[in-house]
């Protein structure tokens, strides 16, 4: 019996048919873990297959198709994050001043305790929370995703400095907190 070999295909179409059927799930899982957005993950995986289809002639079966596809996908994901960070910030949302000149809280911004403590167990709260995350400008949302999802994406690769990245996280948190105050805390008081 010959050793199991990577199957070479008669045509790009037959190769891609095989690959789409066999690797969609694993590529999707990998993409969604990194971008945390189902629609975007689907698009990136599809772009990956299209790119593989177009450059099939250059694939020489020296590596496993899955490895090759994974590396294309990884580039697509990096491109996505790079684009997000290159985009100029169009608004200064979330950059409003919470504090007076002397560093004290502005009266309207003084934090007051939220009454409910087990927020994660409350499905209505989760809906509000998710919509607040969705409402974040994409680059801030990405900064959160990178923090929690992605140990293999390096800030350097994205051309983002640590200081800027931390600023984005700070803004994302501030905006989220304000969104929750307006859409959850106040209506429920």
């Amino acid at each position: 019996m010959p050793k199991a070999q990577i199957k070479e295909h008669a045509s790009p179409e037959s190769a891609l048919t095989d690959w789409v059927n066999n690797y969609s799930d694993v590529l999707y899982a990998s993409a969604v873990k990194r971008v945390s957005d189902e629609g975007l993950a689907i698009d990136l995986v599809q772009e990956t297959f299209m790119a593989a289809f177009q450059s099939y002639g250059r694939f020489e079966y020296r590596s496993k198709p899955k490895t090759w596809l994974t590396s294309i996908l990884k580039n697509k994901i990096m491109d996505h994050f790079r684009q997000v960070y290159r985009r100029k910030e169009t608004s200064i949302e979330g950059d409003f001043q919470m504090f007076n000149e002397d560093g004290t809280w502005k009266t309207e911004n003084i934090p007051t305790p939220w009454e409910e403590t087990h927020l994660l167990d409350n499905p209505e709260f989760i809906d509000v929370f998710d919509s607040c995350v969705e409402a974040l400008p994409e680059r801030w949302a990405s900064s959160i995703r990178i923090k929690y999802l992605d140990s293999d994406i390096k800030l350097d690769d994205l051309g983002v400095s640590k200081a800027n990245y931390w600023k984005m996280l700070e803004r994302a948190r501030t905006q989220l907190r304000n969104c929750l105050e307006v859409n959850w805390v106040k209506p429920n008081k």
């Binding site: 891609l16 789409v20 297959f49 003084i110 007051t112 939220w114 931390w166 989220l176």
Partner: protein
């Protein structure tokens, strides 16, 4: 020496969740929030948000990819 403004305290709360605090900063924040209930609330809420973000983002959405496969293959085979 020990006293920091609320603005500075809020910056330290964010720093705690970014690169982390030095021992000195940790104490300054602790002393401030010990005296300032607004900042104590702010810290607690920020911690809570951070925790919720983490748990929400790490959930793995599942998807049915059958339609996706059909769609992708139709693009390739057209």
């Amino acid at each position: 020496m020990f006293s920091i403004s609320c603005k500075r305290a809020s910056e330290l709360v964010h720093k705690k969740h970014n690169e982390g605090l030095t021992t000195k900063e940790r104490w300054r924040l602790k002393i401030h929030t010990g005296m300032c209930s607004a900042c104590k609330t702010f810290e607690k809420q920020t911690d809570q948000i951070e925790k919720i973000v983490k748990s929400r983002i790490q959930k793995q959405p599942s998807a049915n990819l059958e339609d996706f496969k059909v769609d992708t293959l139709s693009k390739i085979n057209k």
